[in-house]
């Protein structure tokens, strides 16, 4: 398809603007005026609509395809949550920051407070801030909170420990806050090696960041001990909530010994992923860290009204312009409210059931690096197929031809040729069975017809793309 810029015709117009009901202002001084207009597209509204409708049809999506992208929790996004969010689209965020402005924004403020309280109960934390704008942003905020905690206590801390199976955002977030990262290898049970961890722990460790269940979909059997060891050194335990979908109502990180958590609302609480965002990454903390939470904090006044905390001198400060990705938070609130206690427990039970079913059905056909009961996702390796010259990427591309979004491949990094499948609880057995059949077919083709896998995909508007050329030429802007 042509770029929208390639469809431009000089003088063609889309939207028309109102005619001014005020006089024309005197022109700006010449030195402030733009020399020539930005070369934005000049297209009709119909051409615009056709263009973006056409582009949309070049995407796989949850609404169009099974999308078992491991570690991303691509569950169904309930449509009614879109309607709920639309009800709140009109309130200006500055309203709440004006003198007594909170009285004009009680709906939005109370919703935020309520979400914080629900998330605190769900995670076993004492307070939650909804300000962080994405998972990684929540992580960074969490590590900032930990840094503030140590600073306030006069602790000299230098390191953050992460397991080698961790999401890349964990070490990256720690580094953003100025910490050095210690990476611990995995043990035979698929998570951080306890001895190596113990050896690495010392008084200069600020925090240990864990994903639990981890990126292999496994629940660390030594998690209590890991927490205890950290706390003995006044290191705080950070819980990466990316995989929270596995444990709703089953485990609360706060109960286990974690001190700080972020929650990816778009994953566990079913808000749409938007082609890469917006997400929302609320951060929850234990009592000792509450004073450091980002401001302005939303509080409930004695009279039942919701408002903003005035004094927050210990706060790490703002991490976002306003109160977080509010529209996303509204959708998550709608989701939580609809599902309620039993519904959320069912989410995790069915997510775990679906993943174990996938594991059971496919483990005869693909290697399983850690063959245990998994949680919400399962990880295979294409190492058996590699002997026929077929790589995880070839299987992924073949799935595209069959109408499935591929699982996550080549992650986690501690599994060779990893294929990481997260079906989520919203997929039916029939959908999984159909997918399983195609996976088995791919395994068979790796034996009989590997070339066909190498050629895939052939049904898309483009075949495999030359990524080296893209990185070399850095053509990131048209014309």
């Amino acid at each position: 398809m042509k770029l929208i810029f390639e469809q431009s015709v000089p003088g063609r117009r889309g939207l028309k603007l109102p005619i001014a009901d005020v006089p024309k202002a005197a022109p700006l001084p010449d030195n402030l005026v733009r020399f020539e207009p930005a070369q934005l597209p000049e297209v009709s509204e119909l051409d615009l609509v056709r263009h973006f409708t056409g582009l949309s049809r070049r995407n796989f999506s949850v609404d169009g395809n099974f999308y078992p992208l491991g570690s991303c929790t691509m569950k169904y996004n309930a449509k009614v949550t879109e309607n709920a969010a639309a009800l709140f689209a009109g309130t200006h965020p500055m309203t709440a920051l004006l003198p007594e402005g909170d009285t004009s924004a009680q709906g939005s403020l109370c919703l935020l407070l309520e979400v914080s309280r629900l998330l605190a109960e769900i995670t076993g934390m004492d307070e939650v801030s909804c300000q962080p704008l994405a998972g990684a942003h929540g992580e960074m905020t969490g590590i900032m909170l930990i840094a503030a905690y140590h600073r306030a206590k006069g602790n000299k801390k230098k390191y953050v420990i992460v397991p080698d199976s961790s999401h890349g955002t964990n070490p990256a977030s720690a580094a953003m806050v100025g910490y050095e990262v210690i990476t611990i290898p995995s043990a035979s049970y698929g998570d951080m090696d306890l001895d190596a961890y113990r050896a690495a722990m010392n008084g200069e460790v600020a925090a240990v960041m864990m994903t639990c269940p981890n990126t292999l979909g496994l629940f660390n059997p030594h998690i209590s001990e890991i927490c205890d060891i950290a706390h003995e050194h006044d290191a705080l335990m950070y819980y990466d909530g990316a995989n929270l979908n596995a444990i709703l109502g089953k485990v609360r990180p706060g109960d286990v010994g974690f001190d700080v958590i972020h929650v990816n609302l778009h994953k566990t609480f079913g808000t749409p992923h938007g082609g890469g965002g917006p997400g929302s990454g609320p951060v929850g903390v234990k009592k000792a860290l509450i004073p450091f939470l980002p401001g302005p904090r939303i509080v409930k006044h004695a009279d039942g009204r919701c408002g903003l905390e005035k004094d927050n001198s210990q706060s790490i400060g703002r991490v976002a312009n306003f109160f977080g990705n509010f529209g996303v938070i509204v959708k998550a609130y709608a989701y939580m409210t609809m599902l309620g206690r039993e519904g959320l427990i069912q989410v995790s039970e069915q997510a775990v059931l679906n993943a174990n079913y996938m594991l059971a059905r496919l483990k005869g056909h693909f290697d399983v690096p850690f063959d245990q009961t998994c949680m919400h996702e399962c990880v295979f390796s294409a190492s058996r197929q590699v002997k026929q010259g077929v790589h995880a990427i070839d299987i992924a591309k073949y799935l595209i031809d069959r109408g499935y979004h591929p699982p996550t491949v080549y992650f986690p990094l501690n599994v060779k040729e990893a294929i990481m499948i997260e079906p989520t609880e919203t997929e039916s057995k029939e959908t999984m069975d159909a997918f399983i059949e195609i996976m088995i077919e791919a395994a068979r083709m790796a034996e009989t017809n590997p070339d066909m896998l190498h050629e895939a995909p052939i049904t898309m508007p483009v075949g495999r793309l030359d990524e080296t050329k893209a990185a070399r030429e850095q053509n990131v802007c048209f014309g």
């Binding site: 603007l17 930005a38 995407n59 890349g168 890469g276 990705n325 609809m338």
Partner: protein
């Protein structure tokens, strides 16, 4: 409500395939002492009940006539923006890791990058950041990486929220942030220039600034470059229909908040942050970047590129920890810009300024009221009132008007001042209503 499809029969069959007797057995790897001590949540409700509840809650927000900005602006959103960004294939997809089945998102983001470059007059853009404030913080980090220095200079007339975010980011990494006080709503150029020592990574300014004033930053960029520092500019994208682009003024990194480009107010989010720079700094850009390439048959396609900078590969050595960005909001921004179009952006900027100039004149002529800005303004301006601005704003809010942002909380000695914003959505009648209410309140 529940969105789990499997029936008891399905569950039985699946458990049999797994070889377990119950779903509960699947949770046995989790020791019973670790189990949730509480899960005290309300019972679920139906979709129908949810909507009633949400309508009741939404009704607790009051509708005000907005003359407030502060980084978020009440602009008209073309109907096509909702309709097209509401295509399920866009909003229920994720990051385009698999390019062949994600060309929709990828091409749209490539077009977005192009639109941002053209709007800002820069050479390269990423595929979006979180918001304007975090984009400014990322720009500071980027300047630090590029220059290897450890100090930034920031003009106090940059949005206070954005300055707070930058401060939060820089606090932990031993970087000093030097804030140059503003002089009556404008950057203090001599103080800025003086602060430009050899260890300054970046001079950070905003245009139009928080008080609404527009300036030509060319001299500041020259001064910065002379000292080996970068000029980081935060901009309000609607103003770029009219005002000289940051690229023309010599900026090195340009950031801003994309809310005004087709994203609703929505109590502050989601919107998107944009960041653009010159080609030579592309490897220091944080976040996703989309690049053009071809497939084996020579067909054009788009991919995530320069991923070696990113956290999932570089881990703690990444240029940023950003992973999810604000893709859908950026798409909305692109659709907005394509709908308004080249000529439309000029008209829209002029319409905003015409309305604001009219309001500035009308309000500024009220007895005891003075316009603080010494030079030109875009669609915001600062009024000095004969009394506490917070009191005035409180009074006018009772009449359903959000009259402006009082400055006392953000700038010492400016308790009598407030910033008034006038977008194309404010009618002459509404401006008159504000003027009359303001007059009555003084």
């Amino acid at each position: 409500m529940s969105y789990c499809p499997n029936t008891p029969e399905d569950i039985r069959e699946m458990l049999a395939a797994i070889g377990k007797g119950s779903v509960e057995e699947l949770f046995e790897p989790i020791h019973h002492t670790l189990r949730a001590k509480s899960f005290n949540l309300p019972a679920g409700i139906s979709e129908q009940e949810l909507l009633v509840k949400m309508q009741e809650l939404a009704a607790c927000d009051r509708h005000l006539i907005n003359f407030i900005g502060g980084g978020y602006y009440d602009h008209h959103i073309p109907a096509v923006v909702d309709h097209l960004s509401g295509r399920a294939e866009f909003y229920t997809a994720y990051t385009p890791y698999q390019p062949e089945c994600s060309q929709g998102t990828l091409q749209a983001l490539f077009e977005y990058q192009t639109a941002i470059c053209r709007l800002t007059g820069m050479e390269v853009s990423n595929a979006s950041l979180y918001d304007g404030g975090t984009a400014l913080a990322e720009a500071a980090m980027m300047a630090l990486r590029i220059t290897g220095r450890n100090r930034v200079v920031i003009d106090a007339s940059v949005n206070p929220f954005a300055r707070q975010i930058v401060a939060t980011y820089l606090k932990n990494i031993g970087v000093e942030m030097v804030e140059i006080p503003t002089s009556s709503g404008s950057a203090d150029r001599s103080a800025l220039t003086e602060a430009l020592t050899g260890d300054v990574a970046a001079v950070m300014v905003q245009n139009p600034n928080f008080f609404g004033s527009i300036e030509d930053l060319t001299a500041i960029s020259q001064a910065a470059h002379a000292k080996g520092a970068l000029l980081v500019t935060s901009v309000y994208p609607i103003s770029l229909g009219l005002i000289k682009s940051p690229g023309e003024m010599g900026a090195d990194i340009v950031v801003g908040d994309g809310q005004s480009l087709g994203n609703p107010l929505a109590f502050g989010g989601p919107s998107f942050g944009f960041i653009a720079t010159t080609k030579k700094y592309i490897r220091n850009l944080p976040g996703r970047i989309i690049g053009e390439t071809i497939d084996k048959e020579g067909r054009r396609g788009f991919v995530l590129t320069l991923q070696a900078r990113e956290q999932h590969i570089k881990r703690h050595k990444a240029t940023s920890n950003i992973c999810s960005n604000q893709s859908l909001c950026a798409l909305r921004g692109l659709i907005f810009l394509a709908s308004v179009g080249k000529e439309g952006m000029v008209e829209l900027a002029n319409l905003n300024r015409d309305k604001a100039e009219y309001a500035k004149e009308r309000l500024g002529s009220i007895r005891g009221v003075r316009v603080l800005n010494r030079g030109a303004t875009f669609n915001e301006f600062t009024l000095e009132l004969p009394k506490d601005a917070a009191d005035v704003v409180r009074t006018l809010m009772e009449k359903g008007i959000a009259a402006g942002v009082p400055l006392g909380e953000y700038y010492a000695g400016m308790a009598n001042c407030m910033v008034v914003t006038v977008t194309e959505k404010r009618s002459r009648g509404e401006i008159e209503a504000l003027a009359e209410a303001l007059e009555a309140s003084l």
